[in-house]
Symmetry: C2
């Protein structure tokens, strides 16, 4: 089963969970209260997020607090980096060239 960060953040509910937990580690029940869905549905998302190391479970008595592993998001950042350089530089230089080319071929 494919289980990487990109897959994990593809789901809007999971991004919402990440946003919640970023502020404060929470238990499955506490998280579920923020959405109109069942605890089990949330639990599945937590499982997926945990499997790709975006979340870290911390047992505390009978409760399990899920912490966000922000570091893991660096993987997405690194992937973006290669394109960030493009959108930062390309802009001014190529824009004119492209538009003139477009006009000539018409």
């Amino acid at each position: 089963m494919r289980r990487d960060v990109f897959q994990a953040i593809a789901d809007p509910t999971r991004r919402a969970i990440i946003a919640l937990i970023a502020l404060q580690a929470m238990t499955p029940n506490a998280i579920a209260e923020h959405f109109d869905t069942t605890r089990q549905a949330v639990s599945k998302h937590l499982q997926i997020l945990t499997e790709c190391d975006l979340l870290r479970p911390q047992q505390q008595g009978r409760e399990i607090y899920y912490h966000l592993e922000v570091e893991k998001l660096k993987e997405v950042d690194q992937w973006l980096a290669q394109y960030r350089s493009i959108w930062e530089t390309r802009f001014s230089q190529l824009d004119d060239v492209l538009s003139t080319l477009k006009q000539n071929t018409k």
Copy 2:
């Protein structure tokens, strides 16, 4: 049908297509040659990427060149930004701890 950037970049094949097109606009056939899959499969990915404005098709005779709209990736960048600040601040605090740990284990 959900069609956003996060969903689009979730698939590894699509990320590979993005990487290809970032270098140079390409036609579906040309792209398909880079993977061991059919043109139609690639075509579907191109459609998804186009639907969420990550790609821009440019008809040229009977060929269609797909260009990368790098700007669209800024959406991911903006989403990341809120967490980047977290891992950057957390870092500086931990940096001292980590460096001293490193020295001790050496």
